[in-house]
């Protein structure tokens, strides 16, 4: 059976700080992104070359989604930044050497197991919780920035018919707080389970000689699954953060009759055109 550790394993300590293997993984993801940014930035020109146009595809895709679902345009940098970083952090477990190259340690029951040097960054609850906290602070912050502290608290704590307030207030507050837990747990669960799944499938198919040919096929299938799920989870984290921010900002304006905040800019533009024609 494969040995899995929910908490990231400690590699060494610098003074009072412990460095775990997922921190090394996050560092690796940042270095990879930096190198990619430098390499692609050098080739930037008005007419994109083949390599840069390949990179522009996912960026355009994300930007379209953000423009359509979000409100005004300048808020798009946050979800894109989330999504791209998470993508590399999610896919780290697929790189050769991550999770496999390590040193031997002796477990509690006396069996030997491997402590890997590098672990997928998002497979650590600390990272996902940190990102969820960033998302939480940003949507509370945007709500306060757009509506003022009184407006934000009023939207949160006071329900429309006044007698429903003691019933709905705890529900509202808990649902807002539970966004922290759901965001972090969703990402952590997906990436960690993907790692465990890959390790288990490898262990299963290499257990006997008879199953060895399957060891090339079956982990390959789960590899593709992990690729897909990493992508979807990064996208969902970014989209959900953006949706929460849009909700927090638009909450006050929903009570006006000429509200166009929920529509995409295209339909709003068409409506304005028809109105003026």
């Amino acid at each position: 059976m494969v040995h899995v550790d929910i908490a990231a394993e400690r590699l060494f300590s610098i003074g009072p700080l412990t460095v775990t293997n997922s921190m090394v993984g996050a560092l690796l993801a940042s270095v990879l992104l930096l190198l990619a940014a430098l390499w692609f930035g050098r080739r930037a020109s008005l007419v994109p070359s083949r390599a840069t146009s390949v990179l522009e595809l996912p960026i355009e895709f994300l930007a379209d989604i953000v423009r359509g679902t979000g409100g005004t345009r300048w808020r798009r940098f946050a979800p894109l930044v989330f999504g791209i970083f998470l993508l590399v952090a999610n896919w780290l477990s697929l790189l050769p050497g991550v999770g496999t190259i390590g040193y031997a340690a002796r477990g509690a029951d006396g069996k030997e197991y491997i402590v890997p040097f590098v672990r997928a960054a998002a497979a650590d609850l600390n990272l996902t919780l940190g990102l969820a906290i960033v998302s939480f602070v940003s949507f509370v912050g945007f709500g306060i920035w757009a509506n003022g502290v009184r407006g934000y608290l009023k939207e949160l704590l006071v329900a429309e018919p006044a007698y429903m307030t003691p019933l709905l207030t705890p529900i509202h507050v808990i649902s807002e707080l539970s966004r922290l837990i759901s965001l972090s747990m969703r990402l952590f669960g997906n990436v960690f389970a993907g790692e465990v799944l890959l390790a288990t499938m490898l262990a299963l198919t290499t257990a006997t000689l008879f199953l060895l040919p399957l060891a090339f096929v079956v982990p390959g299938i789960f590899f593709v699954l992990e690729l897909l799920f990493g992508l979807v989870q990064a996208l969902v984290f970014a989209l959900l953060s953006m949706t929460y921010i849009t909700l927090a900002i638009a909450e006050e304006r929903q009570h006006s009759s000429n509200d166009h905040s929920g529509e995409s800019p295209d339909t709003a533009a068409v409506a304005a055109e028809h109105g003026s024609a």
Binding site: I6, T69, L239, L240
Partner: protein
């Protein structure tokens, strides 16, 4: 009988029923909408992925609970 293993198995097994049904219903509705109006697939994509991930998250919570039971207690 090892109650830990039983608990972990039950947590994941029972916790997978709800999200499975929910995802199936959601996907079938999305397919219905696309079949009715093939051009809607662009508009449908983002809310569908969002709904998919939100529903699947419940199953992931069950998985995390079962992993915690197995490996951390």
């Amino acid at each position: 009988m090892d109650l830990h293993t039983l608990a972990a198995g039950l947590a994941m097994g029972l916790g997978g029923i709800g999200p499975g049904i929910g995802l199936g219903i959601g996907f079938s509705k999305a397919m219905e909408a696309i079949g009715r109006n093939p051009e809607a697939s662009g508009t449908l994509f983002v809310p569908y992925i969002l709904g998919l991930a939100l529903t699947e998250a419940i199953g992931i919570y069950a998985l995390v609970v079962s992993l915690i039971i197995l490996f951390a207690t």
